[in-house]
Every structure is written in structure tokens, then in C-alpha cells.
């Protein structure tokens, strides 16, 4: 790995990304396990078009489950609401008013203009790796799993503006096909042992050859092309790592996937979401993966709303978000907001149903939800609605709401103003929660900072 001509750092360098964008890993040992020895997991769930803020944020200082977060109330003691964090880097560097262009910054704490675009829209891309990638890479040094990192989506973002990034300018692709995901995670377990060994040996010789070819091919190319080949080579190395049999295989039953859905049909969105959640729950329970990202919508979501009910049932989600101030649309937006939290609650319950090390799998996990914007009408990217479910092995002090920033009394609700506290600091906190200590996370000039001690 270190003999490759294309180390991560070299790639970043050739892409012109500052090494400062790489979170500095502290020298302390990466553990990846809770105090009880159970594995820790991180799941991020992202969707867009904001929430009805006054029904998401608690009105007082106490944890409160208003209309939007109602589905999480049954798990009250395991919920933590960090209220009022700003997407500082986007606010300071984003080319456009917030909203549909924040995805790249949500998990990376970085953003930059994606480059030339005639006849297109200014896109933002990440300038550094996302938190899932950093954690999975660090854990990958210690533990070998079939899929340390899973990047999934229901409605995938176009290639360049998803939430998960291998490095600056290098998006990770999100798998939106649950059947494909099923094959990756579970199908090889149906092959007889002898055939698996043969398959592994053959794949190993192919990957070995392809890796050498890529190295040779890359030497003469210009900087930009060499970086592309370097990224390809990293992917080949990742496949090689995945060939290693799981270090600690647990007997684990594959979930039922049922009859095949037509994933292109908007009316299958609800069932499609459930299928992805089921697969995630199983993969986590079986310890096939430790870090999962899930994009429920893409950054500019304009498909039909997932509820498919009520007046104007065929309005798009984007339209509904923009027009939530209209009385009849307001209730619909509220229903949709709640629907998304029902999905989060569904996943949380599935993990909470599985006992592990004296607690449950949920207790050893953190499900963290993000939204591309705070409010669907104003498209603002301060005061983000973020929730954390699960204490990540006791790291987070849950059952609370924590309010960041100053209350500006009289002039409006606290969540309708900038708090001045960057969400990048939450990303640093997530690293710590997963026992990947970092000094800071994100763009050092724009919002990077230390972990948020208020949450622990």
C-alpha cells in the first residue's frame, strides 16, 4: 500500500487540495469498540428540503418531541438533539445561498466551487474527505470487515454532489440498488467454501495485475489524470482488502428481500427506503460494516413527496417545501417531515431490538440525521436540524437537547439565527465517538474546531 505511487496524500496534493483538509489523526490508539468490547457503529442519514422548524426544535431548554420528531419519542432516553449548529463553511464559502448545494459540506466540513460549468449550475464539491471515510479508513487499519464502509442512497445525488467523499473532489458513489447491495453483503455466503476460496484466489490475481497496470499507466499522465488513476488504484486496493475473509464472522441470517421492486417508480420510494433500512440493520447487526451513509433524497429533490396522500397528492416535495407557508401545504410538509423521522425511528427500533453486550446494538451505535437545509422555504443553512439516536457505546449523553449559541431574546426563535457554532465540530465529535480521535475536522479557515464537549 505504502509502496504505491499514489498515496492518499499524494493524490490530494496533485488535486491541489490542501493537506490541512485532512483531519489530523491523533497518535493515540484507535480502538473501535465500546467499553464493553462491542463494536461501535455510525450511521448518517441525510435528506433535504428542511423541516418545519417550530415543530422540530424544542421551544424551551428541555428535550421535547414536537410534531416532526414525534416518532422518536418512544426512544426518548436514547435521543440527543444538538440544536442550532451552522453549516459555517457553506455560509462562508458557498457560491449560492444555501439549500440544494450543501450536501458536499454536510459530512466533510469543506466546500468549494466544483469548477467550470457552462450551461450547468454552479455545483459545490468537497475539499476534503467526509467523516464516514475518515472513520472507516482509520478503523480499517485495525479490523477487516467485508464492507467497513457502506455508502447507500434511495434517491442518489448526481455523482458529484453526494454527502460522502473519499477526498477533495473525489465523491464516493452511493449504492441505491438494494438487490445489488444484498448480493455484495450476503450472496457469497451461499457459495460452498471450496468455491469461495477459488473465487478469492482468482480475484486476487486479477486485482494484483490491474493494480500493477494502473501504477504503470499512471506514471506518464498529467497531474489531473494521474489523480484519477490514483483514485482507481485506491478502489482496487479496497477490493483487495475486502477479499480477506472476515476476521470475526458471526452466524448471521440474510434478510428477506421479497419481490423485486421497480426502483425507477416514484410510488416505490417508500418500499425502497424500507428495504435499504432493513439491509443496513442486518449488516450492522452481523458486523459486516461499521460505518454507513444513507441519502434518502438527493440534494435537489423534486420527486413526488413520499406520503402520496391528501390534496395535491401529486405535488413535488420541492414545491411543498417552498410553499409550506400556505395553510394547506403546511400540514403536508409537516406530515412529510414526520415521515422521514418515522424511517429513522424504524431503523433505530430494529437496532434496539437486538441485545448486545448488556445493552442493545443501538446503544453501541449513533444514528445521526442531517438535512441539506434548515427550512424548506428559506433554504437557509444555519441552525441545521440534526438529531443523534444512540449513545455510541456511552460516548454521547443522550436524553437531552443541547442548545448552541446565544438566545437573541425578543427578535425571534433561537433556531432562526446563526449560532456561530460550526457543524464541523460535530463531525470532529463523531470521530471521537467512534474512537478515532482528531484534533479538528473540516476547513481550518472556515469552521473547523474541536469536538463539542457539551454533547458528552
Amino acid at each position: 500500500m505504502t509502496n504505491d505511487r499514489f498515496s492518499r496524500r499524494a493524490i490530494l496534493k496533485s488535486l491541489g487540495a490542501s493537506a490541512a483538509m485532512l483531519p489530523l489523526l491523533s497518535t493515540s490508539r484507535v480502538k473501535a469498540a465500546s467499553a464493553t468490547g462491542a463494536p461501535k457503529r455510525l450511521v448518517t442519514v441525510t435528506w433535504t428540503n428542511g423541516v418545519i422548524r417550530e415543530e422540530f426544535f424544542p421551544q424551551g431548554d428541555q428535550l421535547e418531541f414536537r410534531a416532526v420528531t414525534k416518532p422518536l419519542e418512544a426512544l426518548r432516553s436514547k435521543v440527543l438533539l444538538p440544536c442550532g449548529l451552522d453549516d459555517t463553511v457553506y455560509l462562508e464559502k458557498g457560491a449560492l445561498p444555501g439549500g440544494h448545494f450543501t450536501y458536499a459540506s454536510l459530512l466533510t466540513g469543506t466546500t468549494r466551487d466544483a469548477g467550470t460549468k457552462c450551461g450547468g449550475v454552479a455545483e459545490q464539491e468537497a475539499e476534503g474527505p467526509s467523516v464516514d471515510q475518515v472513520i472507516a479508513s482509520a478503523l480499517g487499519q485495525r479490523v477487516s470487515l467485508p464492507a467497513m464502509l457502506l455508502n447507500l442512497a434511495v434517491h442518489a445525488a448526481p455523482a458529484r454532489i453526494g454527502t460522502t467523499w473519499r477526498a477533495g473532489g473525489q465523491p464516493n458513489a452511493a449504492e441505491r440498488n438494494p438487490y445489488h447491495l444484498f448480493d455484495t453483503l450476503f450472496a457469497s455466503s451461499t457459495l460452498p467454501a471450496g468455491q469461495i476460496d477459488g473465487l478469492r484466489a482468482r480475484r486476487k490475481s486479477v486485482l494484483d495485475f490491474v493494480g500493477k497496470e494502473l501504477n504503470r499507466f499512471g506514471t506518464r499522465l498529467g497531474n489531473e489524470d494521474r489523480a484519477k488513476i490514483g483514485a482507481h488504484l485506491e478502489s482496487i486496493r479496497e477490493l483487495e482488502r475486502q477479499l480477506a475473509p472476515p476476521a470475526n464472522p458471526r452466524a448471521c441470517e440474510a434478510p428477506m428481500v421479497g419481490a423485486k421492486l421497480d426502483l425507477s417508480k416514484p410510488e416505490n420510494y417508500v418500499a425502497h427506503t424500507k428495504l435499504q433500512l432493513d439491509l443496513i440493520a442486518t449488516a450492522l447487526r452481523c458486523d459486516l460494516t461499521r460505518v454507513v451513509t444513507l441519502e434518502l433524497t438527493n440534494a435537489g429533490e423534486n420527486s413526488f413527496a413520499p406520503d402520496f396522500q391528501g390534496p395535491g397528492a401529486r405535488q413535488t416535495y420541492h414545491y411543498i417545501a417552498h410553499n409550506a407557508s400556505l395553510p394547506d401545504v403546511y400540514q403536508r410538509k409537516l406530515n412529510i417531515d414526520r415521515w422521514y423521522f418515522e424511517q429513522v425511528a424504524y431503523l433505530a427500533r430494529k437496532l434496539n431490538d437486538v441485545p448486545e453486550a448488556g445493552g442493545t446494538v443501538l446503544d453501541n451505535s449513533a444514528i445521526v440525521t442531517f438535512n441539506g437545509m434548515a427550512d424548506g422555504a428559506a433554504h437557509v443553512s444555519y441552525g441545521l436540524p440534526i438529531t443523534i439516536v444512540g449513545s455510541c457505546g456511552g460516548y454521547f449523553r443522550t436524553g437531552r437537547a443541547v442548545r448552541f449559541g446565544r438566545w437573541i431574546g425578543g427578535s425571534g426563535a433561537y433556531y432562526k439565527a446563526r449560532s456561530g457554532v460550526s457543524h464541523s465540530r460535530l463531525l470532529a465529535t463523531l470521530c471521537h465517538a467512534m474512537d478515532v480521535p482528531v484534533d479538528s475536522f473540516g476547513d481550518p479557515q472556515h469552521g473547523a474546531g474541536t469536538a463539542l464537549s457539551e454533547l458528552t
Binding site: 466551487d113 450547468g120 497496470e213 416514484p266 433554504h379
Partner: protein, 545 residues
């Protein structure tokens, strides 16, 4: 919806546009070679790029003789910052998909290996047969001859398959195929051979095999055929006349029709139809597919069976229609589910901008969208750049009785901060107010008569029109639109934006385009003989062996 569409309710900016587009006829700073003169040859860069999904399937078809739809399992090639498909970097997911495709294609090829081998292993011996297969198959897969070291490495891989892995001869050859299908020489288009690049001043002249590949992927979206390989082997692709002669031969091949249809499908972004839903009961997969086929069939008909003229694309009063499209166009008596040529009402339909595909793709689920349509034409057909917005623009007012779409959006444009940019392109969209969200013709909108008249600036002059046929006639005769068309072909051919260094090449194409009476076939042919096609600039950081 795509963020591109999302942005229509949002302000947009277009930064970093370079080079020759726009209405400024002065040569850009630094100057490019004009017609004649002895100015230095200039050509733009040639970024390495991976085969698109379509190119992957076509190449596999020609290489293995195997119909493949494996390309469709790869991530979409859509690049939000670019007009045409362009694959992103190979992520782990992508690498696993490429492996899955290679394994399946190899498994399917092994039973028919005899046809691929080109030798009889029992007659000449297995090792000799494997080596000769590697030489010939490798050349076709990498689109250039392999050097000795490359052949030896693949032979060693074959032997690994035979002995340590204990594979039978066909399976060991299969291991080689599977590996080649995942190798950069196959997956990437730079045709980087062991030879040193041929430097000519500041430029690199493409060698015969590179020119052969460039021609075949440009005109056929696939690997070269035997005639191109033969020409490359004979160094018969060195002059612009030789290249052009090949281009003319290739345009007569049915593969060129498919590739040209791909250009129009991508230019009009019709692949996005797939993701759209509409308030129109018949808007199903069959209709979406018919819309796509209509545009593809119409474009190839005009280019290859019709007069070939650019203006015809934008003004033809006929199209290719099946029963579902006929219903949408308000024509009765069409029963067939396959498309056939039909004359339409010339007052309602005029070329591909008034066809259902473009109108549905740019329309809203429940109505027209003049701003989106206007911006599409302004940027996509005139190559004009929308200036950055001054601040946050509120969305237009929601639908309400008694307020037409145009009124809602005009209201929006009156907004102080929206007027600056919208004034430039909204009128292009108002021309299409006669078409609803799926492209049906309408005379009334929200109880009022549709007003599709307007005034736009084209080629530096103000022009008025009454409706879409009027506007499309103006666009069809516009120099800006013709140049934008040629520029899009350059982008399609090279899968990159134009640079200043392409200026001379674009000028040369425009001269030939005009001389032919704006026959679009001449754009394709003349592009292949330009410096930008036959040469490339050095890439920053490139290492010369």
C-alpha cells in the same frame, strides 16, 4: 429532480466559462490562429477519460462479439458540470461493478472461446496459442499494439491461471480476458502506448492508432473496426485528408446513426425524462421511451436521410410519431405503437424544440416552465452565459386560479433582484407557453388566452416573434446558434469544454459549415481534420519517457 432544475427556483451562476462562446467576435487575448497565415498550430488538451456506459457496451460487443448491457449497471455518466456524459472516477463500488461485469462477460465468452482464440491449442500447443491470442486480442482491447513486456506479463498471468490456480486452458485464457476488461488500457481512452509521444513544437501529434480510436469513439461510440486498425498499422491516418476520408466512410456506417442520435439525446438531456413524473395519466415508461425515440429518429432522419441541414432540425413541420405521441399531439387515427413519419400542424410544431421530449423534460409536472425552457435555449442552444444573481431570489407565486403561468413568472421577474438575469432569457421560454408540462398544445392557460409573443436579442440584434415556430425560425438562422451547435460537437467529440486553443479549429469548422449551406454532416467531417482533433497540448505534469 436534478439540481440543475432545482436551481431554476434558485439563482444560478455560471463561472469559469472559457474560450470561444458568447457574442464577442474579437479574438480572445493571446490570439488564436485565423484562417491562413503562418501562425503557430494550436490545439486543446486531451484529458484521459474512461469509457462511458454506452461505449463500454459497444466496445464489448465489438471485442467479444457479445451483446452487453453491463455498462448499464455502472454509475450514470452524467456530469452536472458538463453537457455530455462523462464518467466520474472509479470508486470502490464502481470497481466492484466493473469486476462483476468482467466476470460475467468472461463466463459467457468461455464456451465460445474458439471463435476468439484465432488458433487451435491442440494443433499449435497451448502456450503458443495463448500467446498469439494475447497479442491479437490485447491489441484490439487496448486499441494499439502491445509491447513485448506487456505480452509477457499477460502470458505470465495465463500461466498463473494454469498452474497455481489449476485452471483448465479455456478458464486460464478467461482469466486473461477478465483481467484485460478491468485494465486501464481497456477502460481508459488515452491509448497510452509504450511509445514516446510525437512532439511537434508545443503540441503532441496523435499517432495513427490514437487517431483511429478518436475517430471511432467520436463517430461510432466504440472501438475501431478492422479497416481503421489496418489504416493505423499502415500509418495511413497521418494527414488531414486521410482522416477525413475515413470519417466519410464511417458516417455511412449504421453505427454513426446511433452515435449521432446519442449526441442529440444527451444535448437535449432526454435521459432525465426517466426520472420525471407528470400530471398526465399517459406519462408512463412507454410514452417516455417514445419521446426519446422521436427525437433520436428525427435527428438521424434529418442528418442521414434528409437534407442534413441544421435549420431543418429546428424548423421541420414533421416528426416521427406513434399512437401515444399522436394522442399527445392531438392527432387522431394513429394506431401503431412504432414510430412513423407524420406531417404536423406547422402552426403548432416546428423542429425538435417543439417536440414532446424537450418540452416534457423542461416542463413542470403540472404546467409549463418558461424560465427553465428559456434558460435551456439561452445556454444550451446559444451558448450564452447567465450572469450570477445578485442575491436570493424568492420563488414564483404558486398556482392560483385566474393567474396564467406567464403572469406568475413575469411577476417573479419584476422582482428587483430577478430582473437582471431573467430579462435576458425569459422571453425565449415565453415562446413555448403554448405547450404544457408534457408538450401538449394549448390555447388557454388558467382561463386566459396564451400569450407566446416576445422579443429577444440574437446575433446582437433585437428580434420579435409571435410563437415558438417564429422563435425557432430565428434561432435556426442565427450565427450564434450555428456556432453553439459546432461547439457542442467539439464538446461531444472530446468530452471537455472548449479552450482558447480550440479557436482556430472551431473557426475552420464554421467556415466549412457555412460553405456547405449549414449541413450538419460537414461539422462532423470537418471537425476530424482540425488541429484540435489530430493534435493535443501537453497536460500539466505530464512525463515524457
Amino acid at each position: 429532480m436534478s439540481p440543475r432544475m432545482a436551481a431554476l427556483l434558485m439563482p444560478f451562476v455560471a463561472l469559469g466559462c472559457v474560450g470561444v462562446i458568447g457574442d464577442d467576435h474579437d479574438p480572445p487575448p493571446g490570439g488564436h490562429a485565423g484562417a491562413g497565415g503562418d501562425q503557430e498550430l494550436t490545439a486543446g488538451p486531451m484529458p484521459m477519460r474512461r469509457l462511458t456506459r454506452r461505449e463500454y457496451d459497444n466496445t464489448v460487443r465489438d471485442l467479444l462479439g457479445e451483446r452487453s448491457s453491463w455498462g448499464q449497471t455502472l454509475s450514470p455518466d452524467r456530469d452536472p458540470g458538463f453537457s455530455f456524459s462523462r464518467p466520474s472516477v472509479v470508486t470502490t463500488l464502481e470497481a466492484a461493478d466493473l469486476r462483476g461485469a468482467a466476470e460475467a462477460l468472461t463466463a459467457a465468452a468461455i464456451p465460445r472461446l474458439g471463435r476468439l482464440l484465432g488458433c487451435n491449442p491442440t494443433a499449435v500447443g497451448e502456450p503458443a496459442c495463448a500467446r498469439s491470442f494475447i497479442e491479437s486480442f490485447g491489441m484490439r482491447a487496448y486499441r494499439r499494439p502491445l509491447d513485448r513486456a506487456e505480452v509477457d506479463a499477460l502470458v505470465a498471468l495465463y500461466q498463473t491461471g494454469r498452474t497455481p490456480l489449476a485452471l483448465a486452458f479455456p478458464q486460464a485464457v478467461g482469466l486473461v480476458i477478465e483481467t484485460i476488461l478491468q485494465s486501464p488500457g481497456f477502460l481508459y481512452r488515452w491509448e497510452l502506448g509504450p511509445q514516446a509521444p510525437a512532439r511537434e513544437g508545443a503540441l503532441v501529434r496523435l499517432r495513427s492508432y490514437e487517431v483511429a480510436s478518436r475517430l471511432s469513439y467520436f463517430l461510432w461510440s466504440t472501438m475501431p473496426d478492422q479497416a481503421l486498425f489496418d489504416a493505423a498499422a499502415a500509418n495511413a491516418l497521418d494527414t488531414s485528408a486521410q482522416v477525413e476520408q475515413q470519417a466519410r466512410r464511417m458516417l455511412a456506417d449504421p453505427k454513426a446513426r446511433v452515435s449521432l442520435a446519442d449526441f442529440f439525446e444527451e444535448w437535449l438531456k432526454l435521459d432525465e425524462l426517466d426520472e420525471l413524473s407528470k400530471e398526465y395519466a399517459g406519462f408512463n415508461d412507454a410514452l417516455k421511451s417514445a419521446m426519446m425515440q422521436e427525437a433520436r429518429t428525427f435527428a438521424t432522419h434529418v442528418a442521414f436521410d434528409g437534407d442534413g441541414r441544421f435549420g431543418t432540425l429546428l424548423t421541420a413541420p414533421f416528426s416521427f410519431v406513434n399512437n401515444a405521441l399522436a394522442r399527445l399531439y392531438g392527432i387522431t387515427g394513429v394506431r401503431d405503437t412504432t414510430l412513423s413519419r407524420l406531417d404536423l400542424d406547422a402552426g403548432q410544431r416546428s423542429g425538435m424544440l417543439t417536440q414532446a421530449g424537450f418540452l416534457a423534460r423542461t416542463g413542470d409536472p403540472d404546467g409549463s416552465h418558461p424560465v427553465r425552457r428559456g434558460k435551456e435555449i439561452f445556454e444550451g442552444f446559444l451558448c450564452k452565459v447567465v450572469p450570477p444573481p445578485p442575491g436570493e431570489v424568492p420563488p414564483p407565486r404558486p398556482v392560483m386560479p385566474g393567474l396564467t403561468t406567464r403572469q406568475r413568472f413575469e411577476d417573479h421577474a419584476k422582482n428587483e433582484c430577478a430582473a437582471g438575469c431573467h430579462a435576458l432569457f425569459d422571453a425565449f421560454g415565453f415562446a413555448f407557453e403554448h405547450y404544457d408540462g408534457v408538450g401538449r398544445y394549448r390555447t388557454m392557460d388558467s382561463g386566459a388566452r396564451v400569450d407566446s409573443s416576445g422579443r429577444v436579442t440574437i446575433d446582437g440584434a433585437a428580434r420579435s416573434f409571435n410563437d415558438a415556430p417564429g422563435l425557432t425560425r430565428i434561432v435556426a438562422e442565427s450565427e450564434e446558434a450555428r456556432r453553439c451547435f459546432a461547439v457542442h460537437w467539439l464538446r461531444f467529440a472530446f468530452r471537455r469544454l472548449e479552450t482558447e486553443a480550440d479557436g482556430a479549429s472551431i473557426d475552420a469548422v464554421m467556415t466549412r459549415f457555412a460553405r456547405s449551406g449549414h449541413d450538419m454532416r460537414e461539422v462532423l467531417v470537418s471537425l476530424t481534420s482540425t488541429p484540435s482533433f489530430r493534435y493535443r497540448s501537453l497536460n500539466p505534469g505530464e512525463v515524457m519517457p
